[in-house]
Subunit: 100 residues, 2 copies
DNA sequence: AGTTTAATTAAGTCAATGCTTAATTAAAAT
DNA sequence: ATTTTAATTAAGCATTGACTTAATTAAACT
Protein backbone atom coordinates (compact mmCIF):
# COMPACT_ATOMS: atom_id res chain seq x y z
CA UNK A 1 0.00 0.00 0.00
CA UNK A 2 1.35 3.40 -0.88
CA UNK A 3 2.08 5.93 1.89
CA UNK A 4 -0.93 8.09 1.06
CA UNK A 5 -3.37 5.20 1.37
CA UNK A 6 -1.54 3.99 4.47
CA UNK A 7 -2.05 7.34 6.17
CA UNK A 8 -5.65 7.69 5.05
CA UNK A 9 -6.68 5.68 8.08
CA UNK A 10 -6.93 7.64 11.30
CA UNK A 11 -5.89 4.71 13.48
CA UNK A 12 -2.67 4.44 11.49
CA UNK A 13 -2.08 8.17 11.81
CA UNK A 14 -2.50 7.87 15.56
CA UNK A 15 0.03 5.02 15.58
CA UNK A 16 2.48 7.21 13.70
CA UNK A 17 1.81 9.95 16.25
CA UNK A 18 2.68 7.58 19.08
CA UNK A 19 5.86 6.49 17.36
CA UNK A 20 6.90 10.07 16.70
CA UNK A 21 7.13 10.42 20.49
CA UNK A 22 9.05 7.26 21.18
CA UNK A 23 9.75 3.76 19.95
CA UNK A 24 7.25 1.28 21.31
CA UNK A 25 6.56 -2.41 21.59
CA UNK A 26 3.56 -3.70 19.64
CA UNK A 27 1.61 -4.25 22.84
CA UNK A 28 2.32 -0.75 24.11
CA UNK A 29 0.87 0.60 20.90
CA UNK A 30 -2.11 -1.68 21.09
CA UNK A 31 -3.23 -0.54 24.55
CA UNK A 32 -3.91 2.93 23.20
CA UNK A 33 -6.73 1.61 21.05
CA UNK A 34 -10.10 0.02 21.54
CA UNK A 35 -9.60 -2.34 18.64
CA UNK A 36 -8.10 -5.78 19.08
CA UNK A 37 -4.35 -6.50 19.01
CA UNK A 38 -4.64 -8.39 15.71
CA UNK A 39 -6.23 -5.35 14.10
CA UNK A 40 -3.34 -3.17 15.31
CA UNK A 41 -0.87 -5.74 14.09
CA UNK A 42 -2.46 -5.56 10.66
CA UNK A 43 -2.19 -1.78 10.69
CA UNK A 44 1.46 -2.06 11.64
CA UNK A 45 2.05 -4.39 8.74
CA UNK A 46 0.54 -1.87 6.34
CA UNK A 47 2.66 0.94 7.78
CA UNK A 48 5.72 -1.28 7.49
CA UNK A 49 5.05 -2.12 3.85
CA UNK A 50 4.49 1.55 3.12
CA UNK A 51 7.95 2.31 4.49
CA UNK A 52 6.58 4.49 7.28
CA UNK A 53 7.54 2.25 10.15
CA UNK A 54 10.29 -0.22 11.02
CA UNK A 55 10.37 -3.23 13.32
CA UNK A 56 13.13 -4.75 15.32
CA UNK A 57 12.76 -8.12 16.97
CA UNK A 58 13.80 -8.15 20.58
CA UNK A 59 13.16 -11.52 22.10
CA UNK A 60 9.49 -12.18 21.73
CA UNK A 61 8.73 -8.50 21.47
CA UNK A 62 8.71 -6.30 18.42
CA UNK A 63 9.92 -2.74 18.80
CA UNK A 64 8.37 -0.36 16.32
CA UNK A 65 9.92 2.92 15.29
CA UNK A 66 9.14 5.62 12.81
CA UNK A 67 10.96 5.61 9.49
CA UNK A 68 11.01 9.31 8.63
CA UNK A 69 11.79 8.45 5.00
CA UNK A 70 8.28 7.14 4.73
CA UNK A 71 6.79 10.57 5.24
CA UNK A 72 8.97 12.05 2.53
CA UNK A 73 6.67 11.08 -0.34
CA UNK A 74 3.74 12.84 1.22
CA UNK A 75 5.78 15.82 2.26
CA UNK A 76 7.20 16.38 -1.18
CA UNK A 77 3.86 15.94 -2.90
CA UNK A 78 2.27 18.51 -0.63
CA UNK A 79 5.12 20.97 -0.95
CA UNK A 80 5.27 20.56 -4.74
CA UNK A 81 1.55 21.17 -4.99
CA UNK A 82 1.80 24.18 -2.72
CA UNK A 83 4.77 25.49 -4.69
CA UNK A 84 2.91 25.26 -8.00
CA UNK A 85 -0.08 26.96 -6.46
CA UNK A 86 2.08 29.75 -5.04
CA UNK A 87 3.78 30.10 -8.40
CA UNK A 88 0.41 30.92 -9.89
CA UNK A 89 -0.20 33.56 -7.26
CA UNK A 90 3.19 35.05 -7.98
CA UNK A 91 2.52 35.25 -11.69
CA UNK A 92 -0.82 36.84 -10.94
CA UNK A 93 0.88 39.41 -8.75
CA UNK A 94 3.35 40.15 -11.55
CA UNK A 95 0.52 40.67 -13.99
CA UNK A 96 -1.20 43.07 -11.67
CA UNK A 97 2.05 44.92 -11.16
CA UNK A 98 2.59 45.41 -14.88
CA UNK A 99 -0.81 46.99 -15.14
CA UNK A 100 0.28 49.87 -12.93
CA UNK B 1 -14.54 12.22 3.45
CA UNK B 2 -11.62 13.69 5.33
CA UNK B 3 -8.73 15.25 3.40
CA UNK B 4 -6.38 12.34 4.03
CA UNK B 5 -8.78 9.79 2.63
CA UNK B 6 -9.62 12.14 -0.22
CA UNK B 7 -5.96 12.34 -1.22
CA UNK B 8 -5.34 8.63 -0.80
CA UNK B 9 -6.61 8.13 -4.33
CA UNK B 10 -4.04 8.79 -7.06
CA UNK B 11 -6.63 10.02 -9.55
CA UNK B 12 -7.69 12.67 -7.06
CA UNK B 13 -4.09 13.66 -6.44
CA UNK B 14 -3.62 14.07 -10.18
CA UNK B 15 -6.72 16.26 -10.29
CA UNK B 16 -5.27 18.41 -7.53
CA UNK B 17 -2.04 18.58 -9.54
CA UNK B 18 -3.92 19.85 -12.57
CA UNK B 19 -5.74 22.45 -10.50
CA UNK B 20 -2.52 23.63 -8.90
CA UNK B 21 -1.50 24.74 -12.41
CA UNK B 22 -4.71 26.47 -13.35
CA UNK B 23 -8.44 26.56 -12.77
CA UNK B 24 -10.27 24.22 -15.11
CA UNK B 25 -13.72 23.28 -16.29
CA UNK B 26 -14.93 19.81 -15.30
CA UNK B 27 -14.61 18.61 -18.88
CA UNK B 28 -11.06 19.90 -19.20
CA UNK B 29 -10.15 17.89 -16.15
CA UNK B 30 -11.94 14.83 -17.42
CA UNK B 31 -10.03 14.64 -20.71
CA UNK B 32 -6.80 13.99 -18.82
CA UNK B 33 -8.11 10.65 -17.64
CA UNK B 34 -9.14 7.33 -19.11
CA UNK B 35 -12.05 6.95 -16.74
CA UNK B 36 -15.52 8.19 -17.58
CA UNK B 37 -16.73 11.74 -16.90
CA UNK B 38 -19.13 10.55 -14.20
CA UNK B 39 -16.27 8.93 -12.34
CA UNK B 40 -14.30 12.19 -12.45
CA UNK B 41 -17.37 14.08 -11.34
CA UNK B 42 -17.62 11.78 -8.34
CA UNK B 43 -13.97 12.39 -7.51
CA UNK B 44 -14.55 16.12 -7.73
CA UNK B 45 -17.44 15.85 -5.34
CA UNK B 46 -15.24 14.06 -2.82
CA UNK B 47 -12.52 16.69 -3.17
CA UNK B 48 -15.15 19.39 -2.74
CA UNK B 49 -16.57 17.87 0.41
CA UNK B 50 -13.05 17.47 1.79
CA UNK B 51 -12.52 21.21 1.32
CA UNK B 52 -9.69 20.72 -1.15
CA UNK B 53 -11.45 22.08 -4.18
CA UNK B 54 -14.07 24.72 -4.96
CA UNK B 55 -16.58 25.05 -7.78
CA UNK B 56 -18.06 28.05 -9.45
CA UNK B 57 -20.97 27.73 -11.82
CA UNK B 58 -20.47 29.58 -15.06
CA UNK B 59 -23.40 28.98 -17.35
CA UNK B 60 -23.61 25.28 -17.88
CA UNK B 61 -19.96 24.84 -17.02
CA UNK B 62 -18.38 24.31 -13.63
CA UNK B 63 -15.02 25.88 -13.01
CA UNK B 64 -12.95 24.03 -10.45
CA UNK B 65 -10.15 25.60 -8.47
CA UNK B 66 -7.88 24.55 -5.67
CA UNK B 67 -8.76 25.56 -2.15
CA UNK B 68 -5.35 25.72 -0.50
CA UNK B 69 -6.97 25.63 2.93
CA UNK B 70 -7.84 22.04 2.18
CA UNK B 71 -4.21 21.02 2.12
CA UNK B 72 -3.57 22.67 5.46
CA UNK B 73 -4.79 19.73 7.53
CA UNK B 74 -2.38 17.38 5.84
CA UNK B 75 0.45 19.85 5.93
CA UNK B 76 0.12 20.53 9.60
CA UNK B 77 -0.21 16.87 10.50
CA UNK B 78 2.94 16.04 8.59
CA UNK B 79 4.89 18.96 10.00
CA UNK B 80 3.71 18.25 13.55
CA UNK B 81 4.77 14.64 13.20
CA UNK B 82 8.09 15.66 11.77
CA UNK B 83 8.57 18.23 14.52
CA UNK B 84 7.93 15.70 17.26
CA UNK B 85 10.31 13.27 15.60
CA UNK B 86 12.99 15.93 15.28
CA UNK B 87 12.43 16.91 18.89
CA UNK B 88 13.38 13.38 19.85
CA UNK B 89 16.54 13.58 17.82
CA UNK B 90 17.39 16.85 19.49
CA UNK B 91 16.91 15.42 22.96
CA UNK B 92 19.06 12.48 21.96
CA UNK B 93 21.77 14.83 20.76
CA UNK B 94 21.58 16.70 24.07
CA UNK B 95 21.97 13.49 25.99
CA UNK B 96 25.00 12.51 23.98
CA UNK B 97 26.46 15.95 24.53
CA UNK B 98 26.12 15.74 28.28
CA UNK B 99 28.05 12.51 28.25
CA UNK B 100 31.13 14.28 26.99
C1' DA C 1 -39.83 25.15 -29.31
C1' DG C 2 -36.60 21.52 -30.01
C1' DT C 3 -32.03 19.79 -29.90
C1' DT C 4 -27.40 19.62 -28.52
C1' DT C 5 -23.89 20.15 -24.95
C1' DA C 6 -21.85 20.14 -20.06
C1' DA C 7 -22.14 18.08 -16.10
C1' DT C 8 -24.17 15.61 -12.41
C1' DT C 9 -27.02 12.11 -10.03
C1' DA C 10 -28.83 7.28 -9.82
C1' DA C 11 -28.36 2.42 -9.63
C1' DG C 12 -25.79 -1.59 -9.65
C1' DT C 13 -21.40 -4.38 -9.60
C1' DC C 14 -16.92 -5.84 -7.96
C1' DA C 15 -12.70 -5.38 -5.40
C1' DA C 16 -10.46 -3.66 -1.42
C1' DT C 17 -10.48 -2.48 3.51
C1' DG C 18 -10.97 -3.02 8.49
C1' DC C 19 -12.71 -5.67 11.96
C1' DT C 20 -13.54 -9.98 14.59
C1' DT C 21 -12.37 -14.65 16.65
C1' DA C 22 -9.58 -18.71 16.24
C1' DA C 23 -5.24 -20.73 15.26
C1' DT C 24 -0.20 -20.44 15.01
C1' DT C 25 4.62 -19.20 16.09
C1' DA C 26 8.20 -18.42 19.08
C1' DA C 27 10.42 -16.73 23.24
C1' DA C 28 10.23 -16.52 28.55
C1' DA C 29 9.11 -18.18 32.85
C1' DT C 30 8.05 -21.86 36.19
C1' DA D 1 9.13 -30.16 29.87
C1' DT D 2 5.06 -27.44 30.27
C1' DT D 3 2.79 -23.37 30.45
C1' DT D 4 2.33 -18.54 29.89
C1' DT D 5 3.09 -14.38 27.25
C1' DA D 6 3.81 -11.42 22.95
C1' DA D 7 2.68 -11.05 18.68
C1' DT D 8 1.30 -12.46 14.19
C1' DT D 9 -1.24 -15.02 10.56
C1' DA D 10 -5.62 -17.18 8.91
C1' DA D 11 -10.40 -17.15 7.77
C1' DG D 12 -14.71 -15.03 7.43
C1' DC D 13 -17.84 -11.04 7.29
C1' DA D 14 -19.71 -6.34 6.72
C1' DT D 15 -18.69 -1.87 4.89
C1' DT D 16 -16.73 1.23 1.89
C1' DG D 17 -14.87 2.75 -2.47
C1' DA D 18 -14.26 3.24 -7.47
C1' DC D 19 -16.10 2.18 -11.61
C1' DT D 20 -19.70 1.48 -15.21
C1' DT D 21 -24.02 2.68 -18.01
C1' DA D 22 -28.39 4.94 -17.93
C1' DA D 23 -31.12 8.76 -16.55
C1' DT D 24 -31.58 13.61 -15.22
C1' DT D 25 -30.80 18.64 -14.98
C1' DA D 26 -29.99 22.85 -16.94
C1' DA D 27 -27.91 26.13 -20.08
C1' DA D 28 -26.82 27.28 -25.12
C1' DC D 29 -27.68 27.01 -29.86
C1' DT D 30 -30.53 26.84 -34.25
Amino acid sequence: MDPFAALADSTRRRIVGLLSEEDRRAGDISVHFETSPPAISQHLKILREAGIVRVEKRGRERIYSLDPEGLAAMESWVSDTRRKWNGRLDRLADMLKEEE
